[in-house]
């Protein structure tokens, strides 16, 4: 007799993703899908895909989806949740999408305490358009539009989105995670699931910032990219929980 020890989550479709080899977008998709499946809410979920490398996420998640304009996913999700409070609503957004063009939308969705969950992919770069500088690009990091490396005198400083959002009362759950090692993947999954639980309990807004790689635009192999993430991103964007108001309750 054989037993099933691992099976693909019901939360993802059978479509082959278009992500580059070694890109961690795929792992994060799986964690979101598994969380929704395990919580038994897949059939109630409406997701919002961004503009960015995850623009086609609506083909990959096996739930109802909206594709949103660049940066507007939190506003779209607000509209969905207000219209259908009984549904589970999430946005999946990159750092250009969320922290640059959509900075107002994410801040106000969090401030209003919208009962939605945001999965925020921080890869310190604009992936889809070819490696331009993002608001999260590190000082000195090279990008297509910062060929000599990000110079704070010209381009200012990286935005720590989670720290910023954690100051807002409406944000009930804020955690930064990474998917660079199996242990971190497990932690990331736990955080994502918890963020959805916060939504299900009606507490308010939840966001999980996931440090992610972009081997293609960082100009590295998949392994080098993971190492670069650990060495350069983690010190600037420390992992950990920044907000979980009612943690003691369960």
């Amino acid at each position: 007799m054989s037993t099933v020890v691992f099976k693909k989550t019901e939360g993802l479709t059978d479509k082959t993703t278009h992500y580059c080899p070694g890109c961690t977008h795929g792992i994060i998709h799986r964690l979101v899908a598994e969380s929704l499946e395990e919580l038994g809410v897949l059939g109630d979920t409406i997701g919002v895909a961004p503009v960015g490398c995850a623009v086609l996420a609506y083909k990959y998640f096996k739930c109802d989806m909206h594709q949103a304009a660049h940066g507007r996913a939190p506003a779209v999700a607000t509209g969905i949740k207000r219209a259908r409070p009984e549904n589970v609503v999430f946005t999946y957004q990159g750092d250009g999408d969320l922290a640059s063009i959509g900075a107002a939308e994410i801040v106000h969705a969090a401030a209003r305490g919208e009962k939605i969950t945001t999965i925020f992919i921080n890869n310190a770069i604009y992936g889809m358009t070819g490696g331009q500088m993002a608001p999260t690009t590190l000082i000195g990091q090279k990008a297509a539009t910062a060929p000599l490396g990000r110079d704070p005198k010209l381009a200012g400083y990286p935005i720590k989105v989670s720290e910023m959002l954690a100051t807002l009362e409406g944000a009930k759950f804020v955690e930064r995670v990474s998917v660079d090692t199996p242990i971190n993947v497990r932690k990331a999954k736990k955080a994502i699931k918890r963020a959805f639980e916060i939504q299900l309990s009606g507490e308010g807004f939840g966001i999980v910032e996931v440090l992610s790689t972009c081997p293609t635009n960082w100009g590295m192999s998949a392994i080098e990219a993971l190492e670069w993430l650990r060495k350069n991103m983690m010190p600037k964007y420390p992992l950990g929980n920044l907000r979980d108001d009612n943690k003691g309750d369960n």
Binding site: Y58, H66, Q67, A68, A69, R72, A75, R82, H108
Partner: protein, 353 residues
């Protein structure tokens, strides 16, 4: 009929609720503030939702969210705010999301002013969003007509799965008239084939989307949108004709301006000048048919607007060079008086134009 005295903006908001609108998303701007104020009070009473968004950009994207999951939804704004909504309107049209957008025009460009204007005719009928899309636009000239068209707009939005815009000006929004909400009904629509409501594990996911990476797929999608607009052109175009019999000159005016022009027509009669009026009610599609069978007596057309000449271009297109087309307009929030219109027409007639 039971009539009540109501401000235009509030009457539109009430009609929307009676038409089944459950969600409103907006951002403050004069002269439309009565609409969100009314909605913030009334929607919670019917388990609806009102959100004062962080911007017009966010508001229109909230409309995209709520409309995509099959709920009747609206937003309202005024000139600079409608400018910001253009991105969202393009997405709404592309993803075929029914919704109702009220544009209460004020003077521009830029921050402009807050007095009534019609200088956003192009903004409404052409739109500033990207891509091959068209949005139906209606322009009532009374509060009663605004109410009637609010019901119709919601039905049209659902029937054709499109955003529908109502373009009024600050005057119609702010003035009061006796109106009735009787004899109105809204149709039932089945949205279960496309709206995002959650699959419940029983069907394939529904996707609200405007992205088509294959050129041929996008072309097919745009052709479908175009065919839909052609159907709207066949079935929904509306206009009013007034005093055309024996008219030598026909004015074309919409919204509040058409009422001023009607005054001028009476005054011109006393001076022996016969002027008629074509009043487009749908601005998009434009009532081209109205210009095809004008009485023989008609020698020329004149577009009269509270702008420096926008609809006049459609009048020229619609009349296909059959008539000389003149223009009279005031802008910036200045409302033309019947007298100045009369003077202008008299001068035209004297010059033999």
């Amino acid at each position: 009929m039971n009539k009540v005295l109501m401000k235009g903006n509030e009457a539109i908001a009430l009609a929307a609720i009676k038409a089944g609108c459950k969600c409103f998303f907006g951002y403050p701007i004069t002269p439309q503030n009565e609409i969100p104020a009314f909605m913030s009070e009334e929607l919670p009473k019917i388990n609806g939702s009102f959100v004062q968004a962080e911007s017009e950009v966010a508001a229109i994207n909230m409309v995209y969210g709520a409309g995509g999951c099959g709920v009747r939804v609206m937003t309202s704004s005024s000139s600079p705010g409608i400018a910001l909504k253009q991105e969202g309107i393009s997405y709404l049209a592309g993803a075929e999301i029914p919704c109702f957008i009220v544009s209460v025009g004020r003077g521009g460009p830029g921050l402009g002013g807050i007095q009534p204007a019609q200088s956003d005719y192009f903004q409404a009928t052409r739109g500033g969003g990207n891509g091959d899309y068209k949005v139906p636009v209606v322009a009532p000239n009374s509060i009663q007509e605004a109410i009637d068209w609010t019901y119709k707009a919601f039905d049209m939005a659902d029937e054709y799965r499109t955003p529908v815009m109502m373009l009024i000006d600050g005057l119609i929004g702010q003035m009061m008239e006796p109106v009735s909400f009787e004899n109105q009904s809204c149709k039932e629509f089945d949205r279960s084939g496309w709206a995002t409501t959650g699959t419940k594990g029983k069907r394939d996911p529904h996707i609200i989307n405007s992205l088509y990476l294959e050129p041929r797929d996008l072309e097919i999608h745009c052709l479908k949108l175009q065919a839909k607009f052609d159907l709207i052109r066949q079935k929904e175009v509306a206009w009013e004709e007034h005093n055309l019999e024996g008219a030598e000159i026909v004015a074309v005016a919409y919204g509040i301006t058409s009422r001023i022009v009607k005054n001028s027509i009476e005054k011109l009669k006393e001076k022996g000048i016969k002027m008629g009026l074509i009043r487009p009610i749908t601005l998009n599609p434009f009532p081209v048919e109205a210009f095809s069978n004008l009485p023989r007596s008609v020698k020329s057309l004149i577009s009269i607007e509270m702008s420096l000449g926008q609809m006049v271009e459609d009048v020229k297109l619609a009349s296909c060079g059959k008539y000389p087309v003149d223009f009279f307009g005031r802008t910036g929030g200045v409302i033309p008086t019947p007298e100045e219109i009369v003077n202008y027409i008299e001068k035209l007639v004297k010059e033999g134009k």
